[in-house]
Every structure is written in C-alpha cells, then in structure tokens.
C-alpha cells in the first residue's frame, strides 16, 4: 500500500496549503445548511404537542451538545496520532480543537439552561446530561490549562496528548456514573418522555443542523489550524514563500 499521502500530511507547508483550499468547501455548505435548517426548524416545523414552541431550541442545543463530545473525540484521536507517529501537525490539530470544543460545550450548556427555564421552571436542574456536559467543560479547561502551563511546545504537546487520551477513556465512565447518580437522587423528570419517534418535518431540520454544525466545525478547525501552524512555524523558511 502506498503511504505517501499519510507522510505528506505530516508536512506543515502541505497542510497549510490544503487547509487554505479546503476551508471554503466546508464553510459555504455549512452556512447554507445552517440557514436553511434554521428556517425549516424555526418556521416550517410544527410546534411540539407537549412543549409548544419552546422545543425549537433543540435545533441549536442538540447539535452543539453532540459536537462537543465529537470534538473531544477528534482532539483525542489527533493527540494519539501525534503521540504515536510523532507528527507535529497532529498536535497542532489537537491544540486547535480544544477551544472550539469548549465553546460548543458552553453553547450546549447555555441553551440547555434556557430550555430548562420553560420546561423545568428553573435554569439549572442537576439533569445527568447537563451535569456530564459541565464536567466535559472542565475536562476541556484542564486540557487547555495544561497546554498553557508548559512552556516547551513539544512537551506541552505530548503531555496534553496523554491527558486527552486519559479523558477519552474516562468520558464514558463519567457519563455512566452521573446517570446512575441521578437516577437515585431524582425521580424521572418530565423530560424523559418516551418520544414517539420524531415526525419527519421536525427531524429533518435537526439532521440538517447536525450536518451543518459538523461542516462548520471542520471549517473553523481548518482556519484555526492554519493560525496554529503559522504560530508554530513562524521562523521556518517556507512561510516567507507562502505568505508572499
């Protein structure tokens, strides 16, 4: 099998160029999908029979919650690749992921709280999913803190990579334990209705939003990756050439 494509991925100038070319290919579809899905979700979809119009926040809440976990997965995968194959670009990808993931987590927490006000009558309930998101946010903060705390770039890369991998093993355990903890302390909440599978005109905008958010993540990741490569390679010769 030919592995040159893999080795070329390790070259910063190559990645810098590719990331620049690919960004609009992700950004435009992301923008189109999100705008269409917003219209479909906020205007076209019928109100929920139980929650009325309030349910519509799901079109922001669910995709960002989903993305927050996925970004952690991408970050840990990139970190593992960087650790195993000593690939500097992979570490740059992991570093660019952390901030995006933390923001998705914050967005999912805020929208979750806003959704909680009409549904539960209070902004915060120790709901297992909200709690797990909060802990995920602290995991992101820990990762960013460790990265910022170590001066030497190579050491920061590898130490934070080990932390990301530890985190990825722990996330399922934390989620499970929080769910278990919640099931003892709280009666099953109203939210835990057995959803008779969502009708198509509600589900379709959600799926479009999910795809749109994922593409948006890819686009932002590429932009941040380019910035990260610029920062890391600021003294390299190829940069002068590329920026001319």
């Amino acid at each position: 099998m030919n592995w040159t494509w893999f080795h070329r991925l390790a070259s910063p100038p190559h990645i810098y160029r590719i990331a620049g070319t690919l960004t609009p290919w992700f950004a435009w579809p992301a923008g189109l999908l999100i705008v269409t899905a917003l219209y479909a979700g906020l205007v076209l979809a019928p109100p929920d029979y139980q929650q009325g119009e309030g349910f519509r926040i799901i079109y922001v809440h669910a995709p960002s919650a989903w993305l927050s976990v996925m970004v952690y997965g991408v970050m840990a995968t990139a970190a593992a690749v960087g650790l195993i194959w000593r690939m500097k670009v992979a570490h740059a990808v992991a570093a660019s992921c952390a901030g995006i993931g933390a923001w998705f987590t914050v967005v999912s927490l805020i929208t979750g709280m806003l959704w909680g006000k009409p549904m539960w009558g209070t902004y915060w309930v120790w709901d297992p999913r909200l709690t797990a998101q909060l802990i995920l946010l602290f995991l992101f903060f820990g990762y960013m803190g460790l990265r910022a705390g170590i001066d030497d770039l190579g050491r920061a890369d590898r130490a934070s990579a080990v932390l990301a991998i530890i985190g990825v093993i722990n996330i399922p355990i934390i989620r499970y334990s929080v769910e278990w903890w919640n099931s003892i302390h709280q009666a099953p909440s109203v939210m835990k209705m057995d959803r008779p599978s969502m009708p198509m005109d509600m589900l379709l905008p959600l799926l479009m939003m999910l795809l749109g958010f994922t593409l948006y993540f890819a686009a932002v990741l590429l932009v941040r990756l380019r910035a990260e490569i610029l920062r890391r390679e600021r003294s390299a010769g190829w940069l002068k050439e590329a920026l001319r």
Binding site: G149, A156, V162, L163
Partner: protein
C-alpha cells in the same frame, strides 16, 4: 536518551522488578516517617474541613447525618489531592526520577510502587480516620465497616488518578491548582459511587452494588493509570 539507558542497564547488577519496587516502597515510607508533619497534615485538613460543616450548617445530628456521605468524601478527596503535588516533584528536582528511568527497571512498576506508597501514607490513614469524623456527623457505628471498605477501595483509585495528574504537571512550575483542575473531574465516578456506598451503609442497606463498581474502577485504575503516569513522567523529564 535511549543509548545511555542501555549501557547502564547492562552494567548494573540485575535486581528483580519486585525487589526494585520493594526498595522504592521502603524508601518512600522511610522518608515519610522521617518527616511526620507531612504525614499528619492531610489528616488534620480532613478533620478541619469536616468539622466546619456542623459550624457552618447546623449542629443537629439528624441533618448532618443526611449530608455526611458527601461531606466525608469531598473532604477526603480534597485532603488526598493536597498531597499530590509532592508525589513526584521532589524526586524530579533531585534527579531520583531520572535514576528510575535509567535504572533499566520498568518505570511503570516503580511508579506503581510510589503510588502504593502514596496510598499507604494518605489514602489508608484518611480511611482509618473517617469513622471518627463520622461519629461527629452522627453516623451510626453499624455503618463504620461499610464506610471503611468504601473509602479504602475508593482512595486507591484516587491515588492512581492523582499519580497521572502529578506526572502530567511535572513540567508546570506552579502546578498545584492545575493539578486539582485536571484530577477532580476524573475523580467524579469515585465520588459518586463512594458517596452512594456510604449513604447505603448509613441507611443500613446492602452496599455491594456501589462497592463492586468502586472495585471495578480500582481494577481499571491499577491496570491503566501506571502506564499513563509513566508516559507522563517520561515527557516531564525530557
């Protein structure tokens, strides 16, 4: 770095892994006994934090009994966290850890021995002290064996998680707060299952369920945490 490792390894007299671990364990225990204040401080911290609750909340034993599991576990968690920063730092600055790396012995095993020493010096004393503090919180004596068992099992995992965090923050100059930020979210499952086991023990119910889960966490920790700690220490020493 790998070349000198090989040379040293072939010239040193071969000592078995277990013998090397025993030496590390003995050294850490002896060092701790020579400096007993470090041994006692976490215990005092544990006691002070626990006894703040009757003062800050209510002296009524019935109400205190309801929050006792959470108070005991959070206080024990914080007390064991306090001792983590010194787990590897001194040995890193005086070169002991580097000697570990070049000794030709598996670093994983030596760090596991150090973690065991940490548990013997903090986790175990904290566990043994918990029943005394439990009395102050109105915990019935019948619940004491359950509390001892749960804290004993849980603190093993806490020491292991702490060893990973201490290894990762070796390269950070003032790592104390960051160390807590890294390890506390990872300790959530231990806290959940441990506090639940304690709650069941106080209520007089069977606590085998959460104890099994605590045991599972400890087994997972023993299996994987020393590997992660060794990887972290290697990176920190570079």
């Amino acid at each position: 770095m790998s070349a000198p490792t090989l040379i040293v390894a072939t010239t040193l007299p071969r000592v078995g892994v277990l013998a090397a671990c025993a030496q590390v364990l003995r050294r850490d225990l002896r060092l701790a006994v020579r400096r007993p204040t470090q041994l006692i401080q976490p215990l005092v911290f544990f006691a002070v934090v626990t006894l703040l609750f009757p003062l800050g909340y209510t002296p009524e034993l019935g109400k205190l009994r309801a929050i006792a599991p959470g108070v005991l576990w959070v206080a024990a968690l914080l007390a064991s966290m306090l001792t983590l920063d010194s787990l590897f730092r001194e040995d890193a600055t005086d070169g002991t850890l580097e000697q570990f790396v070049v000794s030709g012995q598996p670093l994983v095993a030596l760090l596991a021995a150090k973690t065991l020493a940490h548990w013997l010096l903090t986790g175990l004393p904290l566990t043994l002290m918990a029943p005394i503090l439990g009395i102050a919180l109105g915990v019935p004596t019948a619940a004491m064996p359950g509390i001892l068992f749960a804290l004993g099992l849980g603190s093993i995992t806490l020491s292991l998680i702490g060893a990973m965090g201490a290894g990762l923050t070796l390269g950070v100059r003032r790592g104390g707060v960051l160390l807590s930020l890294l390890t506390l979210p990872l300790a959530v499952p231990v806290l959940v299952f441990g506090a639940r086991a304690t709650e069941l023990a106080i209520a007089g119910d069977s606590l085998t369920g959460p104890l099994y889960l605590l045991g599972a966490l400890a087994v997972l920790g023993v299996t994987l945490a020393p590997l992660a700690a060794a990887a972290a220490v290697r990176i920190g020493l570079e």
